[in-house]
Every structure is written in C-alpha cells, then in structure tokens.
C-alpha cells in the first residue's frame, strides 16, 4: 500500500501517549460475574501491572457493544462502578466490533489533548445474558424494513463477504482455514482462552455448515469478558516504568450502511483508517516497518481481509503469506500471536484484550509463552464492526 508522507495533516498533540498497564479477565461462553464485576477484575489487573491505584486515574473511557445483549439500557452508566468511573470524567464509546480498538483511540484523545495525564480504558461485554443464544440479539442489527423480512442471520454478511473475497482472488477454503488452525493453536498459550485447540484444516472444512462458505470452525464464539488499559503522559510513564509502549498513530473510518452497494472483496474503510494511523506514525511501508500485527479475526477470512486492508499484504496475498508461515508466531510478520478472537474468544468490545492489550504486551516483552520469536519495535492492532463499515487502527512502538 502506498502511504503518503505526513503532509499538511493537523496532528497537533499536546503530549505523547504511553501505555503502562493492561489487564483482562478470562473469556468464556458464560461467566457467573456481572458486567460490573468483570470490569472491576480487568481494571484491578491493569492497575497492578502499572503499580497504580484508582486514585491515580483522572479520566475513564468505557467501551461496550449493543445494549440488546444485556437487555439493559444506559449500559455505560450501569458499568461505571466496576470501571472506576465514579466521580471523574467518564464516557462510553461504541462502534460495534470496532469498539475494542476505538475505546483505546478515545483514551488516546484524552491524554494526547492534555486533558488528562492518566486515562483508564475499560471494555466489557456480557453476551450470555441474551438467552438461549446471543444470535437472537444480533438480528436487530439488520435494517427493519428492507432486510429483516428476509429472516437474516448475522453470519450472512460474513458468508457473502467471504465468498466475494474468495471469488475475486481465487482463494481456496483450505488456505483460509489455516488461519483458524493457527489462531486456535496460538491460543493454547493464553491463560484466558475459550476455544484454544490443536485442529486441522480438515476439521474446519468438515465442521457443521452455518452459512456456506462459513462453517462452525471458521467462526469465533460469543463470549463474556472484560479488558483494561492504562494510558499516560510521558512524565507519568517515566515514573512508573522503564519500558513504556508508545501509541504512535491512531486512525478510524466508517463507510455507509448501504453495504450491498460496495464490492465486498476489499475493506476500503480499514485501508482509510490505516492510512491515517500510518501517516501519524510516519510509516510509509507497513509490510516492512510493522513487526507484529493483531488484525481483527472474528472469522478466519477476516484476518486475511484485514491484513490486506492494513497494507500488510497485497490484495489477495494474505493467504499466501499464511500458507508460507510468515504470519506464524515465529514468522517474519507474526499475526494474531494472542490466539485472536478465533482462539481466545469474541466478547465484542472486550476483544481489546487480544488486540490493543496483546500488542502492548508483545511490544513490552511481557507476552510470556506467546511472545513472538523476532525482535519487535513497532506493531499494529485493528478492529472492525457494524454492517461491514468500520475500521479502527492503532499503531504502537516501544521506541519513542
């Protein structure tokens, strides 16, 4: 992808932004804890890593997906207590599945603008309250007049997009299934993983058909969980750690809800968001300059689709990189070393734990058994959501 050098864009910030702590709960299909309790657990872990207490936190950003899953409106306000949001500036942001990276982007505004020196970002999701299956809540994403009378399932949009992507680049399902195999295996090293496992390409191709080409093992599961990040100004970072990780670029873009009016083979809005983040981070050749990537992988083909949107692969090239092992944890471009949504789980907004939090841990060399083999300086994480329309991107680096 060609990215122009920064020119004439007004990225005036008051101060740089560092990440100094992160935390997450386990991700499971159903957890006993309430959303507040899960948020509290994630925040507590992030504070422990940063060596802070809630008194140090100046402002709080909360990210959580549709209220329909909880059957409870004003979810942001409901979750405030567990997020450490009482009696301080607090806001909730939401762009569907894109929230997991959009919430930290909002945290970045708080600190980069100079409004706060220490901002806590919390993401929570409890999908299991929608019973017996959260798919019943997902159906309310569809247009009530033009789509819902056709009895759609949300899996349809993915199936339609996956088929178009496979058709345009002549990609085989076998090559896409390798992503599921890789991510579920990577997740074996993640203590919070819901669906980690050693599976084969054949297992994916023979799994139950949902909406072909999508089969059961092409898809991440619904989950409960929470995650938290602490973002600070440089003078605070210096006080608490020798190894902060810097947020060097953020970008986001949304396309219209008229998703049947665009060619689905390429996520243009992700490319736009990436262009913005790369300009800010002074990255001109992402394939060479990005050492580790956490693209959004709710479906196996989505990791490939997003790698291409992020300029980490040419159009149609991501499956080849995967087949050649380039995206493996010991490869040249480790991709979803966390295990991603396919392996660790998909609690919509709380996937921040395997995207922004994981990228921070990788760049801070704290990912333990999941630490990628190569030396890492710069990485990118990305989320995606709504009706195939939102891309949210964050670039981080352990060098300022």
């Amino acid at each position: 992808m060609e990215v122009e050098k920064i020119s004439g864009l007004k990225f005036h910030k008051k101060q740089d932004v560092a990440i100094v702590g992160a935390g997450m709960t386990t991700f499971k299909r159903r957890l006993n804890e309430t959303g507040r309790e899960l948020s509290y657990m994630a925040v507590k872990q992030a504070l422990e890593e940063a060596g802070m207490t809630l008194d140090d936190i100046e402002m709080v950003v909360m990210g959580s997906a549709p209220d329909t899953f909880d059957g409870l409106h004003m979810k942001g306000e409901y979750l405030l207590d567990g997020s450490g949001g009482s009696d301080r500036p607090y806001m909730r942001v939401f762009v569907g599945g894109g929230t997991g990276v959009f919430a930290p982007i909002a945290g970045y505004w708080h600190v980069a603008s100079g409004l706060a020196d220490i901002c806590l970002v919390v993401c929570e999701e409890k999908m299991s309250s929608s019973y017996p299956h959260p798919q019943s809540a997902f159906k309310y994403i569809w247009d009530p007049i033009l789509d819902r009378p056709l009895n759609p399932n949300l899996i349809w949009i993915f199936a339609l997009e996956m088929r178009r992507y496979m058709h345009v680049h002549d990609i085989k399902h076998e090559d896409i299934a390798l992503v599921s195999v890789k991510n579920k295996a990577n997740a074996l090293d993640h203590p919070c993983a819901q669906v980690a496992g050693k599976i084969t390409v054949e297992d994916v191709l023979n799994s139950e058909p949902m909406a072909l080409p999508v089969r059961r093992l092409d898809v991440s599961p619904p989950s409960d969980g929470a995650a938290a990040l602490i973002m600070v100004a440089p003078h605070i970072a210096r006080q608490v750690t020798d190894n902060p990780v810097w947020v060097t670029g953020v970008g986001w873009a949304l396309d219209t809800t008229w998703w049947t009016n665009r060619d689905l083979y390429f996520p243009r809005y992700v490319a736009e968001a990436a262009k913005m983040a790369y300009r800010m981070a002074h990255i001109t050749d992402p394939r060479k300059e990005i050492d580790v990537a956490e693209p959004y992988d709710p479906f196996d083909y989505k990791e490939l689709h997003h790698m291409e949107g992020l300029g980490l692969a040419k159009k149609g090239e991501a499956p080849i990189l995967t087949r050649e092992g380039v995206t493996a944890r010991d490869g040249d471009l480790p991709t979803c070393p966390s295990g991603g949504l396919l392996g660790v789980g998909n609690p919509i907004a709380a996937t921040m734990g395997v995207k922004a939090c994981e990228l921070y841990w990788q760049l801070a060399y704290r990912a333990g058994k999941r630490q990628v083999a190569k030396e890492v300086t710069t990485g990118v994480c990305q989320a995606w959501g709504d009706l195939m329309q939102v891309g949210t991107v964050m670039v981080m680096s352990n060098k300022r």
Partner: protein, 176 residues
Amino acid sequence: MAVGKKDIECPPYAEGTPLSDEDIKSGKVTYVEDHPDIRYSWTAGQAISRFLNGLKEGKILGVKCNKCGRIMVPPRMFCELCFKPIDDWVELKDTGTVQTFSISYIDPDARPLPEPIIVAVIAIDGASPNMGIMHILDEVKPEDVYIGMKVKAVWKSEEEREGAITDIKYWKPLEG
C-alpha cells in the same frame, strides 16, 4: 504512585467463574429471567416508502444523482457522497447479476433450517455497477449458483403484494 510490576508474564492470571447451560437449567446459580415485549412500528421514510409502493406495482425504483452520476438502489432522498438531494427517480429492470451468495443452514436465532436457503447480493440491471440489494434465490440448486449468474425477480401476484421487500418472492436464474 508505586512502580509497576516488571518481568512478568501478562495477563498474570485469569479471573472469572465459567458456567455451563446446565448450571443455569439446574438452578445451580442464582439468576433472574425476563422476556421483555417491546413493540415497534418503523415508518419507512420518504425514499423507502416510494420504493415499497413501487414494489407493490411490480417495479424496482432507483434514484439518480446528477453530480456523481450514480443510479442508486435502494433509493435514498440524498446522495451520501455528494451530500445533496437526488435529482431523479428511475425505474430499474427486475433482472440482475449475482455478486456474491451464501447457502444458509440457520435461521435468525441460529437454529437449523429444515432446508438450507440461498441468500445473495444481486446487482440490479439499470443501476450503477455494484448497486445491489440482498435477497433470496430459488428454483436453482445450491451447487449450480455462481457469481456472475443472471437472475430475474419472481413476484407475488398483484393481489398478494403489500408494499414490502417480500413482494419479490425470490430471484431465479434467467434462462438463455
């Protein structure tokens, strides 16, 4: 402020108490159940009302923006790219091309369907390239559908039509 933890593996521990469906059914955990009955009546708005009334007459209507030149379907009152009112209403053909498709084995609640259905994005003839709508394909075997296939709308009878997207029952392959 204390100094943060160093040389640790993150996340250092995994908190949370997993439950199974069985735990809920057997009453092992305390929970409260509710089935809210919330009703809505959605007005279709200016553009989509006219589109639905067109369907009732057996026509697929689109709109044109003279600035970008796009002929759009579903119709809208303003061009979202040029951000100006649309200029014309255009009657489109009831034929089109399959842009992409899926064979769905599940219903909106993820329950298995008795017979799989074929869903597709169909680019409508007479509109700009890639201008499609989502609809159902039938009178074709799943294995015979392909991207680029020409299809034609199968309408409900005039008496049955009510001004809804389902006035088109489904789309079938266009012979020849």
